[in-house]
Assembly symmetry: C2
Homo-oligomer: 254 residues x 2
């Protein structure tokens, strides 16, 4: 059993809070972190306001093994993430020559306007995170990874992060669906969960195409626990007179 | 000018953090709140853990005019929102006779199993929020609205909330798109934003169908400000030699 490694995500952006834009980074990052054995344990969505960025970054970077931020590293006046990460760490924001070169290589030196050069202003002591899509880099300060908000750019930046982090024991999971109310199985779920050391079972009702039911998600770091508990749940559902179906968790339900 | 009325949302659910389920409530609630003149100012996604629920609820209910929670009010062992809201307020969780009647009317008294009756356990002093979809109610404690996590149920519950809240001045907005890098207009955006009292301008780059560009969102509570600033921005973009297009913010970008 490795220790649990936990991460937080801070989504910085008025456009998510106003409802104009649907965030796509939470779900992608959650799955990506799962794949490297890290648990996403908290997400915050906050506006483009200096003190909110500073306070939330300082709170989360001390409480979690890793902190990711998305948004606010572009060239315009409302992109204030980098300067406030610098403030959170108590360091200066300076022109980073490597970042400047990345921009110059992509856009041409003649096109390095003051607005674009803003994207090369990086907190002192940070290491850059490559942006394979649009050149302007993200950066890492200690356990904090500062990424772009545009999903395709954020996802591209993750390619330059995987080797910098280390996860814990990987969480394994299986899903079982029934077309019946979850309350019928409430006793069974508690009984099974309590009889295994690391197992947790989540119960998620759904309404889909006119029928309703529930998905039970079994999660544990121990493969033998997972398989035993899964069989036990199948049996107990069957003994109550219901059919169950193994499968992926249904997307779109909540 | 009315005062700004601000709300927070706490999404309670391991299934969102694990990536199994894509949250759909944030975006819906953001738009719904906009429509009643309330600003969604912070969102948190936290796991089904007692102390995390208690601490986050107490933090957010004191900092914001309204707090909404989604998730964790079903019949199974992992549904622990109600009991922890009671703890956050320092009140008992008791069987609510009105809630019990709602369940009995929908399911029949004979079907009120112990698991289902759990959904009628409500913090003392709360007022119920009707659930037009599946009967089990949400509830309101002071400025905190506790809602279901299933999107269709959450949305149904909002019908019983609108008359209980009061918003501030409604925020008006307009969007303008250009097919050019946002950095070209960085100076213009600052200049215009600074010359109006309540106006804020957000700049959001996009990549779409092989072309890239930026969307500028102007937001203010003053209609005359909005119209003047919008015309001014159109003129200044045109003077830089670019065409702009009025329209809705592009969904899917970030």
């Amino acid at each position: 059993m490795g220790k649990k490694v936990k991460a937080a995500l801070i989504i910085i952006g008025d456009e998510i809070l106003s409802g104009r834009t649907k965030d796509a980074n939470l779900n992608f990052l959650a799955n990506w972190l799962n794949g490297v054995g890290i648990i996403l344990d908290e997400v915050r969505v906050i506006p483009d306001v200096a003190e909110r960025i500073i306070n939330n970054v300082n709170d989360c970077r001390s409480r979690f093994d890793y902190l990711f931020t998305t948004g606010g590293i572009g060239p315009t006046h409302d992109d204030i993430t980098a300067v406030n990460i610098a403030k959170a760490f108590g360091v200066a924001l300076t022109l980073n020559e490597d970042a400047k070169k990345m921009l110059a290589d992509a856009m041409g030196t003649d096109n390095l306007t003051p607005a674009r050069l803003k994207m090369a202003m990086i907190p002192e002591g940070a290491s850059l995170i490559k942006n394979p899509v649009s050149a302007a880099p993200g950066f890492q300060m200690e356990n904090v990874f500062v990424l772009a908000g545009i999903p395709v750019v954020m996802q591209g930046m993750l390619l330059d992060i995987e080797h910098r982090i280390s996860g814990g024991a990987k969480i394994l999971s299986k899903a079982l669906h029934v077309y019946a109310g979850e309350s019928i199985f409430a006793d069974v779920l508690v009984e099974i969960e309590n009889s295994y050391e690391y197992l947790s079972i989540g119960s998620y009702p759904f309404y889909k195409a006119g029928s309703y039911g529930a998905t039970f998600i079994l999660r544990t770091v121990m493969e033998n626990e997972l398989n035993q508990a899964f069989s036990e749940l199948q049996d107990k559902i069957s003994k109550k007179g219901y059919e169950s179906f193994e499968g992926e968790a249904l997307q779109g339900k909540n």
